[in-house]
Amino acid sequence: MRRPFFLVENLDALMRAKWLLPYLLVPPLLAVIAHLESSLVQGGVVAIYTHKARMTLTIWNGAILLGAISGVQASLYFSSLFRSDWLRASIALPLARCRAYWGALLAVLLVAMVAFTFTIGALVAALPRYGAYPWASVVLSTFALVTWVVCVSAFLGVIANALSSSIFILTMMTVSFVLASPSVIEYHYGGAGTPALALFLHALPPIGMSFFATLGDPWHYVYPMVLVGHSALAAVLGCFFFVRRSGAA
């Protein structure tokens, strides 16, 4: 019973309406996006996608929405938890204090993953099937996005407040998508890129790259792997700062 103390405590804390209800925003928001998208396609504003591209885009829409909601939720949760009296008193219990950090991270990740599974599961059930579809690549790429969001929130929760953490995560997601768009890549690799753009392209988490890679054939597994690497690095750094800040010698 000693080992999962912080995991169980955090799961208990997360089973409250204020942490779960925002995930209910995903289905209506997804419906609005799908409606807008189909009106753009019907109006000829956007080129008609292939079936594969349409399915990929729908799943990514769900994952991005879930990622944004998870990012804000996790930022709020971690930054309040890591400054709470409850946690401060709890790390005086006979448990390794890094467990307080990993228990909280794992609990938030579990909740986000359950929401992710329901979202993707509902989309898969709702979408029409058109022969072979690379489910594994799309699910792995979108899973990496949600993992990245939670891990970076945990790291930022230790060193920053909820507002700056949320803004940082949403900005990183947006900029990563913008800079990974084919026109920017073409501009950069066409020789017109600047050193600053090159730095951005290499330093940013490859969320956008991962998205565009799932649209292409063959799929590049490198991007989700890099994203998981970013997540692991952020999580470990967060643990380091948490333990230092909690007064361990």
Partner: protein
Amino acid sequence: MSVLEISGYSDPPRIRNLSLTVDCGELVLVQGNAGSGKSALFEAIAGLRRSPRGRIRIGGAPACDQESRLRSAFVFQYPAYDPGRSSFNQLVRRLCLYLRSSRDAHGMAVAWSRAWGVPILARQSPDSLTTSQSRLLELALVQILSWDLIVMDEPLQGLDPEVVERFLALLVLKKESSAMLCFAQRGGQLSRLADRTIELPQGATAEQRPEQ
């Protein structure tokens, strides 16, 4: 060997070179106004704050060591229970850290709740308890289990007068097998039980033992 050993602890400008030992069967009262460095010293003993100078050892091990906290109870002035969740579940999970089975923890929590009249069985959160009952909940681990070292910050604050008397009587029993260190702005009724009292802030402080 002393249960708690503090040597050369400094928290300038409030505390300089504090040395103190607390043995089993002793209750030491640390008294001082707000800002006198009591809370910082308490957190350093609980392993939540690195002391820039000095050494704090519990049962021979460093204060931040996991093993040293296994036989020590810390009662904070601030709430150690999440105010929005079931008090009962939180208490049982804390007891499980020290007991072999969750059934034992469950039984002890129920018995404690009945004995002290704290209605946590109906899954109430600490928010729904009175101030005195919330404070009793903070003190529950001290009351239920046996400890080598008990460190408490303002243990009597917020308790109803009749509960204070009962709790003090329990401390007398616990003192036989534990070393106790209590922090308080004013000693009040705790002074009656204290074997020694240390006033903060102080300048160069040597260990204050009656026999010295």
